[in-house]
């Protein structure tokens, strides 16, 4: 039950209002109990795949390290590292996310209904992170294969040293976008305050339009923006690390 289609994701209420939803009160039972219960599903699969976490009160490390095809809705705003290291699960935050949401995600989908704080999706290796509001500074820093779709704008130093994966921004980007970038692709619809070292604008070719169309659809933004409205940014590959004479240093 790995959610990649938009049908389930666009109706957050449908997953939680019916029977068979496991409701977990975080204030009553605590973080350790929550994450232990979520981790246990990996070795003991269950039909209880739909979870709702309530009374979160901005707690840190909610639903970190999940490795099972669960559908988890977190009610309310979260603290640091929600959905970090996620594998397989669809985790929806029905509020705003604190620093490091979906940090080092491996696979699955994380959807933030509100805004995300610093370094959303940092070092992510796979999966999809959707932020329906704005993301603050360092969004996608050192990303390594994750796809990130931000419906609003992103802050400064985003995609710093991003290695691979795609960052799509429907709004604007702050200062120093894509500084010291490797192979990640950055698509921004609005303005870019400034580009970081070695980051340049690149031509949008047909394959990029196709890629972007798919990313916008999966990122629940296909009704909000069209691929032709975006500009593409990537690495100029002129930094020290890209020079063949320096290869022996690595």
């Amino acid at each position: 039950m790995l959610h990649t289609a938009t049908a389930d994701l666009t109706h957050p209420a449908s997953a939680t209002s019916g029977e068979g939803v496991r409701v977990f009160d975080l204030t009553a039972h605590g973080l350790r109990a929550l994450n232990a219960a979520l981790h246990a599903v990996r070795d003991t699969p269950t039909n209880e795949t739909v979870w709702e976490i309530v009374n979160t009160k901005g707690a840190h490390a909610i639903a970190v390290g999940v490795d099972a095809p669960l559908d988890i809705t977190v009610r309310g705003t979260t603290g640091y590292y929600c959905a970090g290291m996620n594998k397989q699960a669809t985790i929806r935050i029905d509020g705003s996310a604190g620093p490091g949401v979906a940090e080092n995600m491996m696979s699955g989908t994380v959807i933030v209904e509100g805004d995300a704080s610093q370094y959303a999706g940092a070092t992510g290796r796979g999966g999809l992170l959707v932020i329906k509001g704005n993301a603050s500074s360092r969004c996608g820093i050192s990303m390594k294969g994750i796809d990130i779709v931000v419906h609003g704008s992103i802050g400064h130093m985003s995609a710093f040293m991003a290695q691979t994966g795609n960052l799509v921004v429907l709004g604007d980007a702050g200062d120093a976008l894509g500084d010291s970038l490797y192979e990640a692709r950055l698509f921004v619809r609005g303005s870019v305050k400034s580009l970081g070292a070695d980051c340049i604008e690149k031509e949008m070719r047909p394959e990029h339009h196709a890629l972007l169309e798919d990313l916008l659809r999966r990122g629940l933004a296909d009704g909000k923006a069209k691929p032709e409205e975006f500009r593409r940014y990537g690495s100029a590959r002129r930094l020290y690390t890209f020079h063949v004479d320096n290869a022996s240093s690595y």
């Binding site: 009160k57 901005g58 707690a59 705003t77 603290g79 640091y80 705003s96 604190g98 620093p99 805004d115 704080s117 610093q118 603050s136 500074s137 802050g155 400064h156």
Partner: protein, 298 residues
């Protein structure tokens, strides 16, 4: 790390609960800095009166007969309320400076925490919950307040090194971060006549703002100047007699969240510091932008 909380009330009905709300916020931030804690509370000024908050490591000896001794020196009505290691001394409004000058001659062991019409500062080494309990913060009323829980980096874990720092009448500042040019700025401020109690970097930021405001700058203008003259990492929250301000350095890696409703403006290093505030579910919640000054005045 360090944790900061702040609360500026717009609705007078909440004023009796200021201390309670601020103490709860500060205790929630304990794991961001468990080594010392402090709180500045701005109460409604008493007409024609002003107050000093002082701290002593030997409160019994230092506070005994202090009101009487001070009255003999400066005249007027003097009252003293001792709270654990701190005491609030109320004097005639026009004798605040005289009281300030003479109090440490009378009791050399005293440390001056704050002076002004509304401000009281309480700070000690220890966990926020213990510091809040020792000074009965939860029972205090007021219009606005700022709290800090410290994880020391730049100077020793002492009472004087705890935040808030107050370097001017009714002014205070708390800081998450570390300044790299504080020695140079301290030298310049000393030359301009400012005095310092510690080697702490945050005290320099507080004195920098006090100096700017002494020169006639408004709160917003003084805070704007920190962005050009202070180097390092900072999120500052600043209090004045009638104002409350926030500024983050241009890199802005020290966390900050703000919330505003019709009843209050709140600041927290993390959102969870604010979850107990009334109406937080429907508040406007945002992260202050880097290199941007926010301030509110009544």
């Amino acid at each position: 790390m360090c944790g900061i909380v702040g609360l500026f009330l717009k609705d007078p009905k909440l004023e009796p609960h200021l201390g309670e709300m601020l103490a709860d916020m500060l205790i929630t931030m304990t794991d961001r800095g468990p080594d010392s804690a402090g709180i500045a509370i701005y109460g409604r000024p008493h007409e024609g009166r002003a107050k000093l908050t002082v701290q002593s490591s030997d409160p019994e000896a230092d506070f005994e007969h202090l009101a009487r001794d001070l009255r003999e020196e400066i005249g007027g009505k003097v009252s003293l309320e001792a709270k654990d290691t701190h005491a609030v001394i109320e004097v005639e409004g026009d004798r605040l400076q005289a009281a300030r000058d003479v109090v440490r001659t009378l009791r050399p062991g005293l440390k001056l925490m704050s002076a002004g019409e509304g401000i009281e500062i309480y700070k000690e080494v220890g966990l926020p919950k213990d510091v809040a309990a020792r000074f009965e913060i939860a029972r205090m009323s007021g219009t606005h307040g700022i709290g800090h829980t410290r994880m020391a980096t730049e100077s020793a874990v002492t009472t004087a090194g705890a935040h808030p720092f107050s370097t001017g009448p009714d002014q205070c500042l708390v800081h998450n971060g570390s300044l790299s040019n504080h020695n140079a700025v301290r030298r310049e401020l000393r030359r301009a006549g400012m005095t310092f109690e510690t080697e702490n970097d945050t005290e320099v930021a507080a004195a920098f703002l006090s100096h700017k405001m002494d020169d006639g700058a408004g709160l917003g203008e003084a805070m704007e100047a920190t962005l050009t003259d202070l180097d390092g990492f900072f999120t500052f929250v600043v209090g004045t007699r009638n104002g409350f301000g926030v500024v983050r350095d241009p890199i802005a890696c020290k966390p900050a969240v703000m919330a505003e409703t019709d009843q209050y403006v709140a600041f927290g290093s993390e959102y969870r510091a604010m979850v107990g505030l009334p109406g937080i579910e429907s508040a406007r919640v945002w992260e202050p932008e880097p290199a941007t000054v926010y301030f509110w005045e009544r």
